[in-house]
Structure formats: C-alpha cells, structure tokens
C-alpha cells in the first residue's frame, strides 16, 4: 500500500518534472508480407501494419488517461525492409512509401525499419537497398532508416562504412531545403539492438515474436530534481538516489508496457530504461550532469559523471522491470537537449568530448550538426570511430550526424519539435580518405570469441 506522500510525489513528478512514458512502440514482423512483386508486397505491408497497429494510438491515449501519466509518442517498428525486398531491392522505395502512408493513417509521428543489417558483409541486394535510402527519406515524412555496419562478434564492415558516409551526405543534399532533415531520420549503428523502441533507430528484429510492445520510459527532469535535494552528498549517495529514482520511473513504464501489450493483443517485449531528453527546459540529461557539480557539460569530469549516471539508471531500472532491453541508459543527443544545445552553442563541448562520452553511455554521436562541406570520407571516419568504440566495448553505438547543406561552423540548424535545434560543430579537417577507401572488414576483437 502506498501513502499520501507517495501519491503526491508521483503527481509532482508528472506535473512539474516531466515524468512521462516517452514511447509505446509496436514491433511488427513484415516477413509474412513477402509476395512475388514489389507492388503486392507494398500493399501487404500497408495492410499488415495498419491492421496490427490499428488501435495503438487509441489504446495509448486510454492508458494515459487511466493512469494519469503522459504517453508522448506512439510508434511502430518493422522488420528491416531490406529483408522483405531482397528479391527486388531497386523497388524498395515502394515499400518505404507504403510504410509512410501507414504511419500517416495510424496517426503516429515515426515508423522505423527502413533498415539493413550488414555488419559482416553487404549482400548485393543490400547494397542496392542502401542506395535507395536518400531518395526514400527525402520523399517520405515519417519513415526512419538505420543500417548496422558492425558488431562485437563480427567486426566492422568498412565497405558499408564507406558507403554510409556517401549516403549520409546524399540524404542531406536531397533534404537541403530543410537543413538536411533526412539525416535526422538515419542512424548508422554498431551492435544495433532488435528491440529498441526509440527513433530513429528502431527496427523489429527477426528474432522477435510477431507483434511486440516495447516501451521507452524517460524522466531526466525527475532525476535532476531529486539530486537538487542532496547538493552536498558524495557520489556514492548520489548514485544511490539516481538508482532509486530510476526504479520508480521504470516501474511506471513496466506497468504501461504490460497493460498496453494485453489490450493490443501483442507480446510484452521490453522496457527500455533510457533517460531521453527533450529540448524543453527541465528535461535535460546535460543538466543532471551539471547538477552533479560540473560548471558546464563538456568540461573535464563529464565522462565520469555520465558513466556514473548511466550505470545507476541501469541498476535501478533492471530491478524494476521483468524484461529490460533496447538501449537502456542515458541519451546525449545534442539538438534534443537544452543543456547540450547551450553548451555546444557556447563552444564548451566538442565532438571529441562527445565521442568520449559515448564510451560510457548507451548511444553514440547523436543529432550533431556538422559543416555541409564535410567530405563523405570524414563522415565515414566518424562512423568508423564510433563503431570501433561499440565493437570493443560490447555496446551499442550509433552515428546520427547532419552535414547541414550550405552551413558552416557557428551557423545553426533547426528541425523543430522533439528534434530540436543545433549549432554546427567543427569536425577535424585532416583527411582519412585513404583509410576509408581501403574497405574490407576490421576483424572482431579477440575478447569476442567466447564460444
């Protein structure tokens, strides 16, 4: 039984500290949709997605109403489309457009899974599929794409890394009138997870059940608020408090996930324990780090503070949920976090520091605007560095950079809404072209051979 202060604490978390369920994401397998032609397949995909997720938005709003907790996003992830269109890869855009129409019909903001998994090698049909990504992202509104180029087990597919540098640049060029918005919907992964509920990197893995509900919780504001009450505590006590707070937040997510799965006749997949910021004030991961005693996120000490935060969130969350998965940790997207935006705008955080931070948290270089004239090989090199961090540390890393067309360091890009705004940050101008052109596979690290 709970007491009066428990009730008031929960209500304060929701009303004043931005506690919410960040996303209820339905994963849907598209494997039963494969037909003889692209046109028939696209129709089958549209029918299946709109059928399975028909009640997703309605059910989420009922749950939000009953439990009194906001559910910010309702989303769908699907089987990597490259597998569905393997027999006619050049016609993959037909399926992409069908998915975009389905998302619009369902009333959801993003649908993820225009994806390919090429971490050990790129099949011919996958290479053709990947080439379609820029035009599809330019022609659709809600579709998200991801490509997995490496894993701890397989190594890093450097041919795919090279190709993705070019694809990111082309995606930016085709969406130039919106500051390269297409790149905000394109993630390059190492160790991609199959049950991630967060966009833009969500897809429904082939090892998953037919229809699954995955839930992402959030609440950086709640953690920051809790820390305000112990300004002089040592870091052992601070970690303990973060853990307890993460526990409460995750329990709310677990409850919603189980209930949503039941009502939508789907499997309960996982709860993703991530602290996901938004550009709103009071909803920032950077501000948690500053609450711990850093003058500004990006200064020395940031990596240690983030490591502690990320670990404490995981420990609290694991205890709170029967099934944990996804990315589970702290997100550090630059454009989606007011503290990050301010630090980057003031030149107080660099890409190099962000890269160090990705060694200890759950994601990678996320939502970072870079100069529009950055060469493809430099983008590939950024991807390779992040993939190496993920591969060696057995963790997911990702790159979602936006080479903003026509913009230089000091300019700003603005996407609005949850995607936020970001100053264009400098990248190293040294040339990695030869290294990238070598291609091949960076072998998996020795410690991955565990069998």
């Amino acid at each position: 039984m709970f007491n009066q202060s428990d009730v008031l604490e929960t209500i304060d978390m929701i009303e004043k500290e931005h506690l919410d369920i960040r996303t209820v994401t339905m994963g849907i397998s598209l494997l039963p949709c494969i037909r003889a032609t692209a046109k028939e397949t696209a129709q089958a995909v549209y029918d299946r997605v709109t059928g399975r997720a028909e009640r997703l938005v309605k059910t989420a709003s009922e749950l939000s109403r009953e439990y009194g907790i906001p559910i910010v996003n309702k989303r769908v992830s699907v089987t990597p489309v490259s597998l569905v269109t393997a027999a006619f890869p050049e016609k993959s855009p037909l399926v992409g457009q069908a998915l975009d129409r389905a998302a619009r019909e369902l009333g959801i903001d993003f649908l993820g899974g225009y994806s390919a998994l090429v971490h050990k090698g790129t099949a011919d049909y996958e290479e053709v599929f990947i080439k379609t990504i820029p035009e599809v992202l330019a022609a659709t509104e809600r579709l998200c794409s991801s490509v997995n180029v490496g894993s701890s087990k397989s190594g890093i597919n450097m041919d795919a890394v090279r190709q993705m540098g070019e694809i990111v640049l082309k995606t930016a060029a085709l969406t130039a009138e919106n500051d390269g918005l297409g790149c905000a919907k394109l993630v390059v992964f190492c160790n991609a997870v199959e049950d991630n509920p967060f966009m833009a990197g969500a897809f429904h893995g082939v090892g998953e059940a037919d229809t699954v509900i995955n839930v992402g919780v959030s609440g950086p504001g709640v953690v920051q608020h809790a820390l305000k009450f112990i300004p002089e505590a040592d870091l052992t006590d601070a970690a303990e408090l973060i853990k307890r707070t993460a526990f409460k937040i995750t329990r709310a997510g677990q409850l919603i996930a189980k209930e949503a799965a039941k009502r939508l006749n789907a499997r309960f997949g996982i709860v993703d324990l991530s602290l996901a910021p938004t550009p709103a004030r009071g909803d920032s991961v950077a501000h948690i780090l500053e609450e711990l005693g850093l003058e500004v996120v990006g200064c020395h000490g940031t990596t240690a503070a983030l490591a502690m935060l990320n670990d404490a969130v995981k420990k609290g969350g694991v205890m709170a949920s029967s099934r944990v998965g996804g990315l589970s940790g702290a997100f550090i997207p630059v454009s989606e976090d007011i503290g990050m935006i301010e630090s980057a705008s003031a030149g107080k955080i660099s890409i190099e520091k962000l890269e160090a931070m990705t060694c200890v948290c759950s994601v990678g270089l996320d939502m970072i605007a870079i100069p529009g004239d950055t060469p493809a090989s430099t983008i590939s090199a950024i991807i390779a560095d992040e993939a190496a961090i993920g591969m060696v540390n057995n963790k997911t890393t990702a790159v979602r950079v936006i080479p903003a067309p026509g913009k230089k360091v000091g300019d700003e890009v603005s996407f609005g809404g949850l995607l936020g705004r970001a100053p264009v940050m400098p990248v190293h101008t040294g040339d990695a072209g030869k290294f990238i052109r070598r291609g091949g596979l960076i072998p998996a690290p020795i410690h991955s051979f565990k069998n």
């Binding site: 007491n3 929960t10 439990y67």
Partner: protein, 89 residues
C-alpha cells in the same frame, strides 16, 4: 477499479463537498480520505472504487477535471496501480 482522486490547490470552502458530491452522483464509492494543508495549499487524496459506476473511467476522469476547473483546483482520477507500481516492491 481501485483508483485515487487527488485534489490540490489553494484552500477554499466546499472542496470536499463538491468532489464527494460528484463521486456520489456517479456511484463511485469513497473508501478512504486524507488531507493536508501546507500554508494555503490544500491537498486531498481519496481512495475510491469505481466498479459500481455506470460511467467509463475516462468519462469520470474528464468529469472530475472539469469540476476541478470550476472550483479552481487541480482534480485528478488515476488508476491506483500506478502508485503501487512506483512505490512498492
């Protein structure tokens, strides 16, 4: 369904009467009430059972929200499970 009604805002006369009147009119049974006043801030928590009510839960929640606006308070109806989940192991 076990649910929790919370009423918060500046203290004024007739809050309990208005809220309990609404619940009575919609066949919602009040099982427990507690209240605190901190300065001029009033907070009331009611444990209720909505299973006899003919209204569905969303309609009850909307009705209470509207009542809250009329009396200048924040009034919420939430499933009790959310508090159980967050505060009990």
């Amino acid at each position: 369904m076990r649910a929790v009604v919370t009423v918060s805002g500046s203290d004024r006369r007739g809050i309990i009467a208005k809220v309990s009147g609404f619940l009575y009119a919609h066949d919602v049974n009040i099982e427990d009430i507690s209240q605190t006043i901190l300065g001029d801030q009033f907070a009331m928590i009611m444990m209720v059972d909505t299973s006899e009510s003919k209204e569905d839960f969303s309609a009850l929640a909307s009705g209470l929200e509207t009542l809250g606006k009329e009396i200048g308070m924040s009034v919420r109806l939430q499933h009790a499970d959310i508090f159980d989940a967050m505060h009990n192991i």
